[in-house]
Symmetry: C2
Subunit: 147 residues, 2 copies
Protein backbone atom coordinates (compact mmCIF):
# COMPACT_ATOMS: atom_id res chain seq x y z
CA UNK A 1 0.00 0.00 0.00
CA UNK A 2 3.06 2.23 0.02
CA UNK A 3 3.76 4.42 -2.95
CA UNK A 4 7.04 5.49 -4.50
CA UNK A 5 7.67 9.09 -5.41
CA UNK A 6 7.10 8.25 -9.06
CA UNK A 7 3.70 6.74 -8.36
CA UNK A 8 2.69 9.73 -6.28
CA UNK A 9 3.87 12.04 -9.03
CA UNK A 10 1.74 10.22 -11.55
CA UNK A 11 -1.34 10.21 -9.33
CA UNK A 12 -1.04 13.77 -8.10
CA UNK A 13 0.05 15.36 -11.34
CA UNK A 14 2.99 16.97 -9.56
CA UNK A 15 6.55 16.30 -10.68
CA UNK A 16 8.93 14.28 -8.53
CA UNK A 17 10.94 17.48 -8.19
CA UNK A 18 7.90 19.31 -6.90
CA UNK A 19 7.18 16.51 -4.40
CA UNK A 20 10.68 16.69 -2.93
CA UNK A 21 10.38 20.46 -2.92
CA UNK A 22 7.00 20.34 -1.12
CA UNK A 23 8.50 18.03 1.47
CA UNK A 24 11.42 20.38 2.04
CA UNK A 25 8.89 23.18 2.40
CA UNK A 26 7.05 21.27 5.08
CA UNK A 27 3.79 20.68 3.25
CA UNK A 28 3.34 17.11 4.42
CA UNK A 29 1.57 16.63 7.72
CA UNK A 30 3.30 13.34 8.41
CA UNK A 31 7.01 12.95 7.90
CA UNK A 32 7.65 11.10 4.67
CA UNK A 33 8.96 7.66 5.53
CA UNK A 34 11.98 6.09 3.84
CA UNK A 35 13.04 2.63 2.79
CA UNK A 36 16.21 1.22 4.30
CA UNK A 37 18.09 2.65 1.35
CA UNK A 38 16.62 6.11 1.67
CA UNK A 39 13.84 6.11 -0.88
CA UNK A 40 10.63 7.93 -0.04
CA UNK A 41 7.48 6.03 0.83
CA UNK A 42 4.06 7.65 0.66
CA UNK A 43 0.50 6.70 1.65
CA UNK A 44 -2.63 6.98 -0.45
CA UNK A 45 -3.65 9.65 2.07
CA UNK A 46 -0.72 11.78 1.06
CA UNK A 47 -2.09 11.76 -2.46
CA UNK A 48 -5.48 12.92 -1.18
CA UNK A 49 -3.89 15.76 0.70
CA UNK A 50 -1.84 16.70 -2.37
CA UNK A 51 -5.08 16.96 -4.32
CA UNK A 52 -6.33 19.50 -1.78
CA UNK A 53 -2.99 21.29 -1.90
CA UNK A 54 -3.23 21.51 -5.64
CA UNK A 55 -6.64 23.10 -5.37
CA UNK A 56 -5.38 25.58 -2.82
CA UNK A 57 -2.36 26.38 -4.97
CA UNK A 58 -4.35 26.84 -8.13
CA UNK A 59 -6.62 29.22 -6.29
CA UNK A 60 -3.56 31.29 -5.46
CA UNK A 61 -2.78 30.26 -1.92
CA UNK A 62 0.98 30.64 -1.43
CA UNK A 63 2.97 27.66 -0.22
CA UNK A 64 3.78 29.61 2.94
CA UNK A 65 0.10 29.77 3.88
CA UNK A 66 -0.40 26.09 3.21
CA UNK A 67 2.63 25.37 5.38
CA UNK A 68 1.12 27.44 8.17
CA UNK A 69 -2.06 25.43 8.00
CA UNK A 70 -0.17 22.16 8.01
CA UNK A 71 1.89 23.27 10.96
CA UNK A 72 -1.24 23.97 12.96
CA UNK A 73 -2.67 20.58 12.04
CA UNK A 74 0.60 18.90 12.92
CA UNK A 75 0.56 20.52 16.31
CA UNK A 76 -2.67 18.67 17.06
CA UNK A 77 -6.03 19.58 18.56
CA UNK A 78 -6.71 22.95 20.09
CA UNK A 79 -6.08 25.35 17.24
CA UNK A 80 -9.07 24.55 15.04
CA UNK A 81 -10.24 28.16 15.23
CA UNK A 82 -6.93 29.34 13.81
CA UNK A 83 -7.14 26.82 11.01
CA UNK A 84 -10.68 27.93 10.31
CA UNK A 85 -9.48 31.54 10.17
CA UNK A 86 -6.81 30.63 7.65
CA UNK A 87 -9.33 28.86 5.47
CA UNK A 88 -11.79 31.71 5.69
CA UNK A 89 -9.15 34.30 4.86
CA UNK A 90 -8.31 32.35 1.76
CA UNK A 91 -11.97 31.91 0.90
CA UNK A 92 -12.33 35.68 1.03
CA UNK A 93 -9.32 36.15 -1.24
CA UNK A 94 -10.68 33.72 -3.78
CA UNK A 95 -14.01 35.54 -3.75
CA UNK A 96 -12.23 38.84 -4.24
CA UNK A 97 -10.23 37.41 -7.12
CA UNK A 98 -13.42 36.17 -8.77
CA UNK A 99 -14.94 39.61 -8.42
CA UNK A 100 -11.84 41.15 -9.95
CA UNK A 101 -11.83 38.73 -12.86
CA UNK A 102 -15.50 39.38 -13.47
CA UNK A 103 -14.78 43.09 -13.75
CA UNK A 104 -11.95 42.42 -16.18
CA UNK A 105 -14.29 40.24 -18.16
CA UNK A 106 -16.63 43.20 -18.57
CA UNK A 107 -13.84 45.33 -19.98
CA UNK A 108 -12.76 42.60 -22.37
CA UNK A 109 -16.29 41.90 -23.51
CA UNK A 110 -16.89 45.54 -24.13
CA UNK A 111 -13.94 45.64 -26.51
CA UNK A 112 -14.83 42.29 -28.05
CA UNK A 113 -18.36 43.53 -28.69
CA UNK A 114 -17.18 46.62 -30.52
CA UNK A 115 -14.71 44.70 -32.67
CA UNK A 116 -17.14 41.95 -33.42
CA UNK A 117 -19.91 44.25 -34.53
CA UNK A 118 -17.55 46.12 -36.84
CA UNK A 119 -15.91 43.00 -38.24
CA UNK A 120 -19.32 41.43 -38.90
CA UNK A 121 -20.40 44.51 -40.79
CA UNK A 122 -17.16 44.32 -42.75
CA UNK A 123 -16.35 47.79 -41.57
CA UNK A 124 -13.44 47.00 -39.41
CA UNK A 125 -11.19 49.41 -41.24
CA UNK A 126 -13.41 52.30 -40.25
CA UNK A 127 -12.48 51.69 -36.66
CA UNK A 128 -9.28 53.28 -37.66
CA UNK A 129 -10.79 56.38 -39.13
CA UNK A 130 -10.91 58.92 -36.35
CA UNK A 131 -13.90 60.65 -37.94
CA UNK A 132 -15.98 57.46 -37.78
CA UNK A 133 -18.08 57.23 -34.63
CA UNK A 134 -16.93 53.69 -33.86
CA UNK A 135 -13.32 54.78 -33.73
CA UNK A 136 -14.21 56.73 -30.64
CA UNK A 137 -16.13 53.71 -29.44
CA UNK A 138 -13.11 51.42 -29.46
CA UNK A 139 -10.90 54.17 -28.26
CA UNK A 140 -8.36 52.94 -30.73
CA UNK A 141 -8.65 55.43 -33.54
CA UNK A 142 -5.31 57.17 -34.03
CA UNK A 143 -3.69 54.62 -31.78
CA UNK A 144 -6.00 55.34 -28.94
CA UNK A 145 -6.21 51.88 -27.48
CA UNK A 146 -8.30 52.48 -24.40
CA UNK A 147 -11.99 51.76 -24.66
Amino acid sequence: MDLSIGEVAERSGLSVHALRFYEKEGLFANPVRRTSTGRRLYHAEDVEWLAVCTKLRSSGMPLAAIRQYVELARRGAGNETQRLDLLRAHEEQVLEKIRELTECLDVIRHKVGIYQAAVERGEADRLWNPSHPDAAATGEGCHRLAA
Copy 2:
Protein backbone atom coordinates in the same frame (compact mmCIF):
# COMPACT_ATOMS: atom_id res chain seq x y z
CA MET B 1 -1.91 68.69 -21.52
CA ASP B 2 1.31 66.68 -21.36
CA LEU B 3 2.07 64.58 -18.36
CA SER B 4 5.36 63.74 -16.70
CA ILE B 5 6.20 60.18 -15.76
CA GLY B 6 5.49 60.98 -12.11
CA GLU B 7 2.01 62.26 -12.92
CA VAL B 8 1.26 59.22 -15.02
CA ALA B 9 2.51 56.99 -12.22
CA GLU B 10 0.17 58.67 -9.79
CA ARG B 11 -2.83 58.47 -12.10
CA SER B 12 -2.26 54.94 -13.29
CA GLY B 13 -1.16 53.43 -10.03
CA LEU B 14 1.94 52.02 -11.72
CA SER B 15 5.41 52.91 -10.48
CA VAL B 16 7.71 55.09 -12.57
CA HIS B 17 9.94 52.04 -12.84
CA ALA B 18 7.07 50.02 -14.24
CA LEU B 19 6.24 52.74 -16.76
CA ARG B 20 9.78 52.78 -18.11
CA PHE B 21 9.73 49.00 -18.14
CA TYR B 22 6.41 48.91 -20.02
CA GLU B 23 7.81 51.29 -22.58
CA LYS B 24 10.89 49.14 -23.08
CA GLU B 25 8.56 46.16 -23.49
CA GLY B 26 6.67 47.96 -26.24
CA LEU B 27 3.35 48.34 -24.48
CA PHE B 28 2.68 51.86 -25.67
CA ALA B 29 0.98 52.22 -29.03
CA ASN B 30 2.50 55.62 -29.66
CA PRO B 31 6.17 56.26 -29.04
CA VAL B 32 6.59 58.15 -25.81
CA ARG B 33 7.72 61.68 -26.65
CA ARG B 34 10.57 63.43 -24.88
CA THR B 35 11.38 66.96 -23.82
CA SER B 36 14.50 68.55 -25.24
CA THR B 37 16.38 67.26 -22.22
CA GLY B 38 15.17 63.71 -22.58
CA ARG B 39 12.31 63.54 -20.10
CA ARG B 40 9.25 61.53 -21.03
CA LEU B 41 5.98 63.20 -22.00
CA TYR B 42 2.69 61.35 -21.93
CA HIS B 43 -0.91 62.08 -23.01
CA ALA B 44 -4.07 61.59 -21.00
CA GLU B 45 -4.85 58.86 -23.54
CA ASP B 46 -1.80 56.92 -22.44
CA VAL B 47 -3.27 56.87 -18.96
CA GLU B 48 -6.55 55.50 -20.34
CA TRP B 49 -4.71 52.76 -22.15
CA LEU B 50 -2.71 51.96 -19.03
CA ALA B 51 -5.97 51.49 -17.18
CA VAL B 52 -6.98 48.87 -19.74
CA CYS B 53 -3.53 47.30 -19.53
CA THR B 54 -3.86 47.07 -15.79
CA LYS B 55 -7.17 45.27 -16.15
CA LEU B 56 -5.68 42.87 -18.65
CA ARG B 57 -2.68 42.26 -16.43
CA SER B 58 -4.72 41.69 -13.31
CA SER B 59 -6.78 39.17 -15.20
CA GLY B 60 -3.58 37.30 -15.95
CA MET B 61 -2.76 38.37 -19.49
CA PRO B 62 1.02 38.24 -19.86
CA LEU B 63 2.86 41.34 -21.02
CA ALA B 64 3.88 39.44 -24.15
CA ALA B 65 0.23 39.04 -25.19
CA ILE B 66 -0.51 42.68 -24.55
CA ARG B 67 2.51 43.59 -26.63
CA GLN B 68 1.22 41.42 -29.47
CA TYR B 69 -2.09 43.22 -29.36
CA VAL B 70 -0.42 46.61 -29.33
CA GLU B 71 1.79 45.63 -32.24
CA LEU B 72 -1.24 44.73 -34.30
CA ALA B 73 -2.91 48.01 -33.45
CA ARG B 74 0.26 49.91 -34.24
CA ARG B 75 0.40 48.28 -37.64
CA GLY B 76 -2.93 49.92 -38.45
CA ALA B 77 -6.16 48.79 -40.06
CA GLY B 78 -6.57 45.36 -41.60
CA ASN B 79 -5.87 43.03 -38.71
CA GLU B 80 -8.95 43.64 -36.61
CA THR B 81 -9.88 39.97 -36.80
CA GLN B 82 -6.56 39.00 -35.29
CA ARG B 83 -6.99 41.50 -32.51
CA LEU B 84 -10.47 40.17 -31.90
CA ASP B 85 -9.03 36.66 -31.73
CA LEU B 86 -6.50 37.73 -29.14
CA LEU B 87 -9.20 39.34 -27.04
CA ARG B 88 -11.48 36.34 -27.31
CA ALA B 89 -8.69 33.94 -26.42
CA HIS B 90 -8.05 35.94 -23.29
CA GLU B 91 -11.76 36.15 -22.52
CA GLU B 92 -11.88 32.37 -22.66
CA GLN B 93 -8.91 32.09 -20.31
CA VAL B 94 -10.50 34.42 -17.81
CA LEU B 95 -13.71 32.41 -17.93
CA GLU B 96 -11.75 29.24 -17.40
CA LYS B 97 -9.92 30.78 -14.44
CA ILE B 98 -13.22 31.82 -12.91
CA ARG B 99 -14.53 28.29 -13.30
CA GLU B 100 -11.38 26.94 -11.67
CA LEU B 101 -11.61 29.37 -8.76
CA THR B 102 -15.24 28.48 -8.26
CA GLU B 103 -14.31 24.83 -7.98
CA CYS B 104 -11.60 25.65 -5.45
CA LEU B 105 -14.11 27.67 -3.53
CA ASP B 106 -16.28 24.58 -3.20
CA VAL B 107 -13.40 22.63 -1.72
CA ILE B 108 -12.56 25.40 0.71
CA ARG B 109 -16.16 25.87 1.76
CA HIS B 110 -16.53 22.19 2.35
CA LYS B 111 -13.66 22.28 4.82
CA VAL B 112 -14.80 25.56 6.33
CA GLY B 113 -18.25 24.08 6.87
CA ILE B 114 -16.91 21.08 8.74
CA TYR B 115 -14.63 23.14 10.97
CA GLN B 116 -17.25 25.74 11.65
CA ALA B 117 -19.91 23.25 12.69
CA ALA B 118 -17.49 21.55 15.05
CA VAL B 119 -16.10 24.76 16.52
CA GLU B 120 -19.62 26.09 17.08
CA ARG B 121 -20.55 22.95 18.93
CA GLY B 122 -17.40 23.32 20.98
CA GLU B 123 -16.33 19.94 19.84
CA ALA B 124 -13.42 20.95 17.76
CA ASP B 125 -11.08 18.71 19.67
CA ARG B 126 -13.04 15.68 18.65
CA LEU B 127 -12.08 16.32 15.08
CA TRP B 128 -8.78 14.96 16.21
CA ASN B 129 -10.16 11.83 17.69
CA PRO B 130 -10.04 9.24 14.96
CA SER B 131 -12.92 7.35 16.47
CA HIS B 132 -15.20 10.37 16.20
CA PRO B 133 -17.22 10.41 12.98
CA ASP B 134 -16.31 14.03 12.16
CA ALA B 135 -12.65 13.19 12.14
CA ALA B 136 -13.30 11.18 9.04
CA ALA B 137 -15.38 14.09 7.77
CA THR B 138 -12.51 16.56 7.85
CA GLY B 139 -10.10 13.95 6.69
CA GLU B 140 -7.69 15.34 9.20
CA GLY B 141 -7.93 12.85 12.02
CA CYS B 142 -4.53 11.25 12.58
CA HIS B 143 -2.96 13.88 10.37
CA ARG B 144 -5.14 13.03 7.45
CA LEU B 145 -5.54 16.51 6.01
CA ALA B 146 -7.51 15.80 2.87
CA ALA B 147 -11.24 16.30 3.00
